[in-house]
Symmetry: C2
Subunit: 336 residues, 2 copies
């Protein structure tokens, strides 16, 4: 029988065998007995050599895989992928797209996470195929999976091979999987509804509300909440796909979730010598520092991305399984 000199298993010890195996490999890396790229003995040889169950070795190797230390190639074997044994956890973070307010979310998430946790970031760009392949390709290589599903439907089957209780849904959720997966989400419908109510006094000087809703990436809850508010409070309203070539009239309020639309609207309002915040109202979505000084202050409906990052980090650090609704508010500035 082959002798393996870097693994030590003691049956009488209190420590579970698979954990002894994990720390054996770690120590072998520390003492440079095992180096990057080295092949580790196969599951079968190890379980025979130490009379362990195949499963026990598998459990140990899987943990090392989720920490990024080992990698496996079916039919070939296990290899040392990284000699950095400091990370206890590796997080798979799947965003929809890179944009300005992700900066706050991501930085707050990283700041609130202990440095024993490593985060890899991916983007699916609202492309279902990319979304699918990123998840399936990275299955098994991370200890936590944080996923921003955008408005994709029916993606549970993708999760079937991910470890349960290690999945977190970010930003969006549906009633269908409430209480099914933990995470932090925006209640889009409620947020816009309540934000508009809290702006009732300021809105009174206008006659018509216009939501700019391109209907691609935007969450449908926004639309629902807007329509519900308009109906409940007897507003004349309109939903448009974009503001371009539109004749902007006095006593209109525009709600523009997209920043390029926002910039266009501000410029058009100035060009037509309309007074922003008096003749025409403007409400933006997702706050960034610059909106405080843009057009003398843009009123914004925004979820608290700092808080979202913090809540997510806490969920992961403390292994909690809550579903947290992220706070949102209307930040009132001169544009309304």
């Amino acid at each position: 029988m082959k002798t393996i000199d870097y693994i030590f298993i003691d049956n009488n010890l209190q420590i579970p065998k698979y954990k002894q195996l994990v720390s054996s490999i770690q120590k072998a890396i520390e003492s440079e007995l095992l180096q990057k790229g080295d092949k580790v003995d196969s599951i079968n040889t190890i379980c025979k050599a130490f009379s362990l169950s195949r499963d026990t070795v598998m459990v140990a190797f899987n943990e090392l895989k989720t920490r990024g230390i080992l990698t496996s190639i079916p039919g070939k074997g296990y290899y040392i992928k990284s000699t950095n044994i400091n990370f206890q956890e590796k997080v798979f973070l799947l965003f929809d797209e890179l944009n300005a307010f992700k900066e706050d979310l991501y930085n707050s998430f990283m700041r609130n996470l202990s440095n024993k946790i490593k985060v890899d970031i991916y983007f699916h760009h609202f492309n279902r195929k990319v979304f699918n392949s990123l998840i399936t390709e990275n299955t098994g290589n991370y200890s936590r999976y944080v996923i921003m599903p955008a408005s994709f439907q029916n993606f549970y089957p993708l999760f079937s091979k991910l470890p349960k209780n290690r999945i977190y849904i970010l930003d969006q959720t549906k009633t269908e999987f409430k209480n099914k997966y933990p995470g932090v989400y925006q209640n889009f419908e409620k947020d816009i509804y309540n934000a508009l109510i809290s702006g009732n006094d300021l809105l009174r000087k206008y006659k018509k509300l216009i939501l700019v809703f391109p209907a691609g990436k935007e969450p449908k809850g926004q639309l629902k909440g807007f329509v519900r508010y308009c109906n409940d409070y007897n507003w004349e309203y309109e939903i448009i796909q974009n503001p371009f070539n539109r004749d902007i009239k006095k006593e209109e309020v525009y709600i523009a979730p997209n920043d390029r639309h926002l910039v266009y609207l501000v410029k058009e309002i100035n060009k037509n010598n309309l007074n922003l915040g008096k003749d025409v109202g403007l409400i933006s979505y997702n706050d960034t520092p610059l909106k405080e000084i843009a057009a003398n202050g843009i009123t914004t409906i925004s979820t608290d991305f700092e808080k979202m990052g913090e809540s997510l980090a806490k969920l992961i650090e403390n292994k909690q399984t809550k579903l947290i609704e992220n706070p949102s508010s209307l930040i009132i500035r001169n544009s309304l």
Copy 2:
């Protein structure tokens, strides 16, 4: 024994041998070592030359056959049928940090890249250890490496195991490795120098230039270019680490590369009833759409991130090895 110079098999590598064989042939076609119609060495010569099993070679050749790259003539041998290889390019993209103007750069890069190329994005957060481990851990997993080295020194040794001619330096470069690696870079010193010259007429109404330079992440070229301009044009100048608690006086111009400093300055200027663009000047760095409407328009020194993404995509698509200086300009708005 015959020497075969276009096949490379490494038994210690984690990649299956037949896959190494497939990519050897592909790379030989790419580099025009093998051309359409060429005869490939026979299965027997290859399996003897590299001590492989006959089957291993067969598996590789069969895969190349089903992909339409090879064709076989019984009794004669294998021939290159098509040089149209569509093997999946994977790009390793290492950014410094996630921030608002990366959005433009990244989106333009992705838009200009053919969609068969996959991009994984990483961040080193100006942490040298993270920078090192991300590169070493991902060595061998990608066909292209795009690296934003920030102001790190002496990182060539890290590149030794990366495939040569597959490395691109982004955003920063040093005279030391000009002409060594292709890429797209900002000439920070020249850009700020020329931008300020192009603003000479507008600057004339002020007396003192103040650069807000936190001296951490910011490239030193900015500082050098600023000082050189001030000396060449006889300006009174000052360099401060941050604008907080500073008494802002008339006839001062602030150059604020950091957006939080920018927002603070605008608010302070308003609070002190100073007239932005008349009493006090303000120049920002890195343009984003919102800066057009912030404080009635913020004058900005900015490299063209759209162009940077486009140039980078073209370098990769066309396998060029140029080092491109990205265009930069002073975008004049009301704040100066």
